[in-house]
Symmetry: C2
Subunit: 355 residues, 2 copies
Amino acid sequence: MSENSPSKKIGIKEIAKIAGVSIATVDRVLNNRKDVSESTRKKIKDLIKEHNYQPNIYARSLSVKNNLSFAVLIPKTSQQTGYWDLCLQGIKKGINEYSNFGINIQVFLYDQEDVNTFEKLNSAVLSGNFNAVIIAPIFIKETELFVEECKKQKIETLFINSDIKGCSSMGYIGPDLTSTGRLAANLTSYLVKGKSTLLILNIARGLQNYAYLNTKIDGYSNYLKDKNADYDIIVKDIPSNNYDEIEMALLRLENEIDPDLIFVTNSRVSVVGKFFDEHPELSKPAIIGFDFLYENVNYLAKGTIDFLICQRPDKQGYMALNYLYRYFLLKEEKENFKPMPIDILTIENYLFYEN
Amino acid sequence: MSENSPSKKIGIKEIAKIAGVSIATVDRVLNNRKDVSESTRKKIKDLIKEHNYQPNIYARSLSVKNNLSFAVLIPKTSQQTGYWDLCLQGIKKGINEYSNFGINIQVFLYDQEDVNTFEKLNSAVLSGNFNAVIIAPIFIKETELFVEECKKQKIETLFINSDIKGCSSMGYIGPDLTSTGRLAANLTSYLVKGKSTLLILNIARGLQNYAYLNTKIDGYSNYLKDKNADYDIIVKDIPSNNYDEIEMALLRLENEIDPDLIFVTNSRVSVVGKFFDEHPELSKPAIIGFDFLYENVNYLAKGTIDFLICQRPDKQGYMALNYLYRYFLLKEEKENFKPMPIDILTIENYLFYEN
DNA sequence: CTGAAAGCGCTTACAG
DNA sequence: CTGAAAGCGCTTACAG
């Protein structure tokens, strides 16, 4: 009926006393250091198990003097999208938490429309004596070169947001992009029934750098293909960040295609919302897009956007630092791939979403 | 371009040295204790701000010897539903984390079908010298009495999972149940179009204790009413935990009503999934229900259940302890109501859900 | 009003 | 192979 959790923690001192050794020896077996006789090692291990002893990680972090330094290399927030700001928030939460453990964390923000800024910061990171670097790999080729350099200097690398398969030394933390696309397709099947025209829209300057958008599109298309539904799927690019240009492009597309649903493959979906808000004369299609950004939520709340799919960029940032913390401090194994939850937001649950 | 976060933390010792005082004095102003002259207090406060000094909470937690004790009073897991087990997992995560701060946490599990067990545990809690108790208020009247007693003994009370308005001293952590119902209705509008019959199903023994289910139903019905859709909404109770009995009841309802969609108001939705799996001769309605339980997810994966709405019971448990920690240790204000995220799970995103 | 000293539960040299 | 002692950054009596 009552499940007692004594949670009166036994300490290293008690263990030492019971075992009849000093705390230094207990510490040695705790941390798997050598120079302990097998017999006392066993005795202490048994005691630890018996009393379910767990070291106080706060005490540990206080006394251990680690000289760890992590770098974070992500895009800076543009005026077009606050996406990376969310990621940065998670990073900052991590900095706040882990600097208490004496870890030094530095953030480097590059311009995702200017590969030069990325390369300049590469040098800064390489000369900064870091133990690991968290990278959002927008520029594929340049990132691969950078990771090569890191490997030479024994700097661990970890990707967030999107992956380059087999490239980084510690793996990838972020959404499974294929599933993300499939989910969008799944929601599509609830929004439009029967014979319909679906428009997939890539909106951004420098689209060549966003190869990972194709992964989402593949997931989307394959899902619908498997369902044998009667859909026309059309993919279009709008390689611009300027609303007027985008408006022109959308007007053309509306004329040409008149879609029943628009699936925007990134967080720029709010411009499509804006477009249909400003053009009430057009028949508004169902709209699906990405990310919990202020402008997006705005059109979700109005009912212009039907679903937002969210990948918790802030959690990605935090979990990346957490992963490094667990690897370097707690000596946990590398885990390689950590898929983030994929959240669905509608007009009815967005208020309670914590990014 | 590069945002430096030095995160080389300055310590109390440095502050003391710069100010020309002892660390004890710095500690006094840090913790707003009296017995410091206004002039030195100001000097130190300025220094703290100037250097952005933040105390190391782990060092603090090590040295402070708080005598805190929290109780947790929730239903035990029944064989019918693992829901409370998820909550318990979150609690355990919290115990693991906060027992490092010297907090003592005890869990008491009552039988939600037997009010006597609840009342017995009330006495145990009252005589256990706790500073606060987290309660899942299934039995309304008895909980109100218990909270009264707690108030007399200066034990803080905090509700999780469902609320009794204005009753507890610290508020409520859990989903906004009206919105939860509205979300189910919102999803309903994607699943069925045109003239349809919707069946709302309450499944559980002792339904009189689950008054909060009506809040969900109200949210659900009001949403659809506002939409002026052409829906027949029928509410039915199946006050049983026995599958054979439930099967009989469902057979009767199928005959009588033949719904286009079934909305199960709690986590027992898997039995409805099972029912339609075992009766392929019946036309399967769309199905919406609650909670990320193994059996539910099973029928979600098969496509029998269309949507699961999840309220993160584990997070509720953890956040409740976290709230107490922040209130008692970090001296933060009471916050009263902490709505939990309401998650939507489909066949395409459940794999990545972390409860 | 202020400071010196002990202690929280660990880890880290250092000595044997 | 083992232990005594110092120290991590705070808080807590205690003494003045």
